[in-house]
């Protein structure tokens, strides 16, 4: 046991003495969560709009007020004529314009048109704004119909929407789990592959392999410290999510921890697999970044919904560990789901862990 503890001690010294490693280990997670949490939100507040209202009726005023008082929009300017629309959009001051017809009035018998123009140079924002505005206008029409009592059957159906689990539709509920899949993959896989590749590059791996240490002890000794630190990282990300962004933790902490450890095992074995292929640290880093980070970010459903991907990408996405881990964290943290529902994802991750570990152990012996 003395052998193994001497080895682990050394590994911790490497980590603590390398400022870059420390930065990646402890700086990255917090910075990423904060970045994703604050910058990458798709909630929209106070978007600047322009209104072109030649009618200037009581009703058109009321509708404009309703839009602005929703909190989503802010009236940037009233535009006198259609010709000025172009300038307003070009200046970038307004994201959306509402154009009323000259004869605007709401009556059940005579349909009327309102034009919504979005600045689709940013398509996501434009779509979101148009959707918000549509919803508010529909609401307005319904209210009107009920008040005048002239509503027909269709307009008298009021939809009542409830967004379960995330009533305020906070984007952070999506990003915290997403960042966790990313960070745990980054730290576990990339850092292990780099640290093993470093021993190969420096020639110290040979010395270790000639020593009485068994390959499995070398692998364990190299990865155990990272496993511990990654777990610490996961804790930090969860705490930031809960205390800074108001994420709930509905489910069992124990289950969450266990699932994190399982995911880390998958990531660690991937890291070992990469290090058996990579001759030096640069290669290891490159393979990890390109082969693991990018797919985790783009194909796992963290940023782009998987449902809307072309089938081949969905297939690729389904072999990415994060694709299975993401619903697990979301389920546990937001919905309070237990293993009775998440067993399938857990089983897939377990299978991946065994598979990659077996392959990388075999490779490790062959290659070195």
């Amino acid at each position: 046991m003395n052998r193994f503890s001497a080895f682990i001690q050394k590994e911790f010294r490497h980590i603590l003495r390398d400022r870059r490693t420390l930065m990646i280990l402890f700086g990255m997670p917090v910075i990423q969560v904060l970045l994703f949490g604050y910058v990458l939100t798709n909630e929209i507040k106070n978007a600047a709009i322009a209104v072109l209202d030649p009618a200037k009726t009581e009703e058109s005023n009321a509708l404009t007020n309703k839009l602005v008082s929703s909190g989503y929009f802010q009236l940037e300017q009233n535009i006198p004529s259609e010709a000025d629309l172009e300038a307003a959009f070009k200046s970038g001051k307004v994201k959306m314009a509402v154009v009323f017809p000259a004869d605007f009035s709401v009556s059940p018998n005579k349909p009327t048109d309102i034009q919504l123009i979005g600045d689709a140079s940013d398509p996501n924002t434009a779509t979101t704004l148009i959707n918000y505005a549509n919803a508010i206008i529909a609401d307005f029409v319904q209210e009107k119909a009920l008040v005048t009592g002239s509503g027909n059957a269709i307009t008298s159906i009021r939809t009542e929407t409830r967004m379960r689990y995330n009533p305020e539709q906070k984007a952070v509920f999506n990003f915290v789990p997403g960042v966790m899949t990313l960070i745990l993959m980054l730290v576990s896989a990339m850092m292990t592959s780099i640290t093993i590749a470093r021993e190969k590059e420096l020639g110290t791996m040979e010395v270790l392999l000639v020593s009485p240490l068994k390959p499995i002890q070398i692998i364990l000794g190299k990865t155990a410290p990272y496993l511990a630190l990654t777990l610490l990282n996961a804790l930090v990300v969860v705490l930031v999510g809960i205390y800074i962004f108001g994420m709930p933790l509905q489910g069992s902490i124990l289950l969450l921890t266990a699932e994190c450890v399982l995911y880390m095992f998958v990531a660690l074995s991937l890291g070992i697999l990469i290090s058996t292929k990579a001759k030096d640290q640069m290669t290891a880093m490159f393979i990890s970044a390109l082969g693991l980070m990018m797919p985790t970010m783009l194909l796992s459903g963290f940023i782009f919904p998987r449902e809307s991907m072309p089938v081949p990408l969905q297939v690729i996405g389904s072999v990415i560990p994060a694709t299975w881990f993401n619903p697990i964290i979301k389920g546990i943290m937001i919905k309070g789901t237990g293993l009775d529902v998440l067993w399938k994802q857990t089983a897939v991750l377990g299978g991946m862990a065994l598979f990659f570990l077996a392959v990388s152990l075999r490779n490790f012996k062959d290659r070195l």
Binding site: N2, R3, A6, F7, H14, L202, T204, V210, S211, L368
Partner: protein, 240 residues
């Protein structure tokens, strides 16, 4: 003197390329045995097979009385190894490196402490004991690496081009350490491409294209090839 290393038609192929071609030789206990050859002649590959780093394609080897591939654990405990990359951890201090390798080889803390003290004194590294290894000059690193490879009292130490990249004076000092080890009964197997170092060995094997083409004492080889020094011997052999 008894045989401590013995190989029988040891061969290693990488695809169609034969790096080591059926070499058979014996090394006696306490010998300084040199492996000479140009780069790519197969000496490092041969050494790697003897230390268990590479599995041979065919043939066998006994090291310290055990079969290298059937009883690797027994062999590993009895050998030391120093690679041409000098094999210490640069971001650990001198003392930490000694403790690490002592620990890996299963020495007790008390023994490690005692060995650290003697080693530091012998190498006159006491003032440097708590400095990072990367701050030491290359020659010192190599001496330290060699001493660390001897830490667990191995019967055999394999040195793969241990003196590459240092000046002749430092090389000379390094060889004094090697002689000292040999004097204590340790067998040393050294690869080198410095011909002047070849003169320091008890016996030499010359490798060309994966084969051992000559094996004898430096004196006998010089006689045989009617050369004044090892450099000439080597050139005559290489020319065929």
């Amino acid at each position: 003197m008894s045989t401590i290393i013995s190989t029988d038609k040891l061969t290693k192929t990488f695809g169609a390329f034969t790096a080591v071609n059926a070499i058979s030789f014996d090394v006696m206990e306490g010998e300084i045995f040199g492996f000479l050859g140009a780069n790519g002649a197969g000496k490092t590959t041969a050494l790697k097979m003897l230390t268990g780093l590479l599995t041979p394609s065919s043939g066998s080897a006994m090291v310290a009385g055990f079969d290298v591939w059937k009883q690797p654990e027994q062999v590993k405990r009895r050998i030391g190894y120093m690679s041409q990359k000098f094999s210490l951890y640069e971001d650990l201090t001198v003392r930490e490196n000694i403790r690490l390798f002592g620990g890996i080889y299963g020495l007790s803390m008390a023994l490690i402490r005692q060995k650290t003290a003697t080693l530091l004194q012998k190498l006159e590294l006491e003032p440097e004991a708590d400095k990072l290894v990367k701050s030491l000059p290359l020659g010192w690193k190599q001496k330290l690496a060699f001493s660390v490879a001897l830490l667990h009292d191995p019967s055999i130490v394999f040195l793969d081009e241990p003196t590459s990249g240092v000046d002749p004076l430092t090389r000379r000092q390094f060889w004094e350490l090697i002689y000292e080890a040999a004097h204590e009964g340790i067998t040393l197997m050294v690869t080198t491409h410095y011909m002047e170092e070849a003169e320091y060995c008890n016996r030499l094997s010359m490798m060309v294209d994966g084969r051992i083409v000559a094996l004898d004492t430096p004196g006998a080889l010089k006689n045989q090839y009617q050369a004044r020094n090892m450099d000439e011997v080597f050139r005559r052999i290489a020319r065929g």
